[in-house]
């Protein structure tokens, strides 16, 4: 028996291919997950650097597009690339990377569904982002801000076309990777695990992935129309350079932006009960709340370019008001769970709490964002004061409050992903990441978000327009000096966010690549509740020697039954 086991182990290790062949030729979900995580963190650093540059430009609101950049076109390229890179080069790859690595493990599956498709998706994504970044710097990008001759602004039509095609490639690749993940959740569950017993991270990826599959193709259809119109000698409407971004911007607006932060709740839902050493309270209610957040974040209908009045329409307003409820329910469930046990303070717990709080603040700002339309719809009193308030709240809709909502939601997703990284590091890298560095990164993210997102929220109240690349965004600003000072604070905040991402990357380099990480008890250092902790760290080829059979959503906490025998 022992001999057989040793032979099997050696066979497993012989199937692992190292070196460059292992990197470029891999379709192992663990390798792909790690690659997504590395490049996702680098993409995050790019996004935060671009955000700092954008904030520098907003330091002097009387000379937008002149101070740091050669033209308003270049400023717009930087601004739009900061958004596309935060979402497509950082948030989505980090979440998809974690899911690619962990979902099969949480389900006790030997691999991801369609590993070769997942591999294709990763490389298509990576090549796509490289092409996109190069074309943006080659005077391409997704349009220009003002309706003037594209050549007068130094814009290159061919580079623009390639920018559109490359970003389509990136989104297509991410969709393919998402389908691999959600197909795994649905079809690879072990015996005894119903969908209501799926671990919360996998469940949240199922919900989020479902919404992405519903919404991102609609965004691709916008892009396709722009691209076709852009082909002609004279674009008529959709491909005119000043209109391209306007058709695509809904993806970074509420309610859609919340769809990219849904997995934060799942990550926190997996971390907190383990830290507290007790089962998650009201598990199904948590699952329903996460599902409800998915429903409330489907925003493909909210396209201001084609429907300019959408921000005043009932569905949009109601979704903006209700989005806080599922987040609040999950927070309540987590607090209740924490109360039952004694949470051990760790880097991943602090990061998870900060991530969920950031998402909560995003939902509060969302309510503020739609409150003008909501109050306007229900008020029946002929009251000048109330009408004045409603008028002011309506004006808030076109301001950088929208940017604050986006920033809080997307940075929440980054923080949540980093929390997951610290929690699952023993499983992913075979060692723990440094606890102190993790806490420092959490503080940097928290401080950065308060300064960067907070300054945007206050600048919105001071009437700084959301389209910061247009000089018209600063017409009628209440307190220009105050706006510029807050933008200075925004620079500090963006630098802190960059520092947070850099700390995490540095920690991975030191702990993993330089072998300084703590390998003690790496198989299950936290006393995990879910199946990924039942196998080695990092897991062998095939993940589990025998397909596990489970009977609850926390099989390790209650009882693990491996292959029908009690372990």
């Amino acid at each position: 028996m022992e001999t057989e086991s040793n032979t099997a182990d050696s066979a497993s290790s012989s199937l692992e291919i190292g070196g460059l062949a292992g990197v470029f030729g891999t379709s192992d979900h663990k390798n792909l997950g790690r690659l997504y995580i590395y490049f996702g963190l680098m993409g995050g650093m790019l996004a935060f650097v671009l955000n700092i540059l954008v904030r520098f430009e907003r330091l002097d609101i009387s000379s937008i597009g002149v101070f740091d950049f050669g033209s308003s076109n270049q400023f717009f390229q930087t601004w739009s690339l900061s958004r596309t890179s935060l979402l497509f080069f950082c948030v989505l790859p980090l979440l998809v990377g974690l899911a690619t690595y962990l979902v099969p493990l949480q389900l006790g599956a030997p691999s991801l569904s369609f590993p070769r498709a997942a591999s294709l998706a990763f490389w298509a994504w990576l090549i796509g982002i490289l092409i996109h970044v190069v074309t943006v710097f080659a005077d391409g990008g997704l349009g220009v801000p003002e309706p003037v001759s594209q050549f007068a602004q130094g814009m290159d039509p061919e580079a623009t076309e390639l920018s559109m095609l490359s970003i389509a490639m990136v989104v297509f690749a991410l969709l393919l990777a998402t389908i691999c993940v959600v197909a795994t959740v649905i079809s690879q569950r072990p015996k005894g695990m119903t969908l209501f017993e799926v671990p919360l991270f996998s469940w949240s990826m199922l919900v989020a992935g479902g919404i992405w599959v519903l919404a991102l193709p609609v965004w691709l259809s916008n892009l396709a129309i722009s691209w076709v119109d852009f082909q002609g000698n004279d674009a008529l409407r959709y491909g005119t350079v000043e209109n391209i971004w306007d058709q695509l911007s809904w993806l970074w607006s509420q309610p859609m932006i919340f769809a990219f932060a849904i997995p934060v709740l799942g990550i926190a839902g997996d971390i907190l009960p383990v830290s507290a050493g007790v089962p998650q309270r009201r598990y199904r209610l948590q699952q329903i709340a996460i599902g409800a957040l998915g429903v409330l974040s489907f925003g493909a209908f909210a396209q201001p370019f084609f429907n300019p009045d959408v921000a005043d329409q009932a569905v949009f307003v109601v979704m903006g008001l209700l989005v806080i409820i599922p987040i609040f329910i999950v927070m309540g469930g987590l607090a209740d769970t924490a109360k039952q046990g004694k949470p051990i303070i760790s880097a991943h717990l602090i990061l998870a709490v900060v991530g969920v709080l950031s998402l909560f603040i995003a939902s509060v700002l969302s309510i503020f964002h739609v409150s003008g339309a909501a109050l306007g719809a229900v008020q029946e009193l002929d009251d000048d004061w109330l009408n004045g308030l409603i008028s002011w709240l309506r004006d808030v809709q076109g301001t950088v409050i929208a940017t604050a909502v986006m920033e809080h939601a997307l940075v929440a997703a980054v923080i949540g992903s980093v929390a997951g990284l610290y929690y699952w590091a023993p499983k992913i890298f075979g060692c723990r990441l440094n606890r102190k560095v993790g806490i420092l990164a959490a503080l940097a993210f928290l401080g950065g978000l308060m300064l960067s997102g907070g300054s945007n929220a206050i600048n919105g109240i001071l009437d700084e327009g959301d389209e910061v690349f247009r000089s018209s965004a600063y017409d009628g600003v209440w307190e220009p000096d105050g706006v510029e000072f807050l933008n200075l604070l925004g620079i500090v905040g963006s630098m802190l966010l960059l520092a947070g991402a850099a700390l995490v990357l540095l920690d991975i380099v030191v702990s993993v690549l330089l072998n300084k990480g703590d390998v003690t008890d790496a198989n299950d250092p936290w006393g995990g509740h879910t199946l990924e902790w039942a196998t080695d760290s990092p897991p062998p080829v095939g993940n589990f020697p025998i397909p596990p059979v489970v009977d609850s959503e926390r099989p390790l906490l209650s009882q693990v039954v491996m292959g029908g025998d009690e372990a």
Binding site: S113, V218, A224, Q231, N233
Partner: protein, 199 residues
């Protein structure tokens, strides 16, 4: 021989309809993509008409014969594709492959008819006065691309069936390809009605 067997890692459990599930999500994505295109097309057309304008330029010639032929070809292909599913469920690989090949032939016919229609329409994308040409080219071009993907999918599943991967015990590949194909027929039905009939 015994050593070779013990050298292998544990066999993965049978995949529980992964291909069908993934195809379901893929079909959903394709439907949403065309849903987005149709939504924009119908809205833009409605705006032009409500202003008293003409949506399709007067000089354009959108004949109904090619779209009519296409929809009939596709409807027949649904029956043929279902024939392949029926046959593979009964281990009748010969007829399953015959049906797959016929479906591919019909797909090729649809592509040819699309190409002929596009060449006859006299629609120029950047001339205006409306954006009808841009949107019609986007919708029809996207549809042709989706059709080519569908044909590759069917051909791949056909080759796998030929290699013996699919039988009455495992029909997922053929069923998944047919699911995608039916969704394409449904999408063309919308194009036929919304773009060509009610132009």
């Amino acid at each position: 021989m015994n050593m070779v067997t013990t050298n292998l890692p544990a066999a993965p459990p049978p995949r529980a309809r992964s291909l069908l599930v993934a195809t379901g999500f893929g079909v959903t994505g394709v439907l949403m993509y065309f849903g987005g295109l149709f939504g924009i097309y119908l809205r833009e057309r409605s705006l032009v008409r409500s202003d008293g304008g003409t949506w399709i330029p007067d000089k354009a010639h959108i004949e109904l014969t090619p779209p009519g032929m296409i929809i009939w070809t596709l409807l027949i292909s649904v029956v043929v594709m279902q024939w392949s599913v029926y046959s593979i469920k009964r281990d009748d690989r010969q007829h399953a492959l015959l049906a797959v090949g016929t479906t591919l032939l019909m797909g090729g016919m649809v592509l040819v008819q699309h190409g002929w229609q596009l060449s006859q329409m006299n629609l120029v994308a950047d001339e205006g006065p409306t954006t009808a040409a841009t949107l019609i080219y986007t919708i029809v071009g996207s549809y042709m691309a989706a059709l080519v993907i569908g044909m590759i999918f069917i051909a791949l599943m056909g080759f796998r069936a030929l290699a013996g991967q699919y039988s009455s015990r495992q029909t997922d590949g053929i069923v998944a390809a047919s699911l995608y194909w039916y969704s394409l027929v449904f999408i063309y039905f919308i194009i036929w009605i919304a773009v060509f009939i009610a132009k």
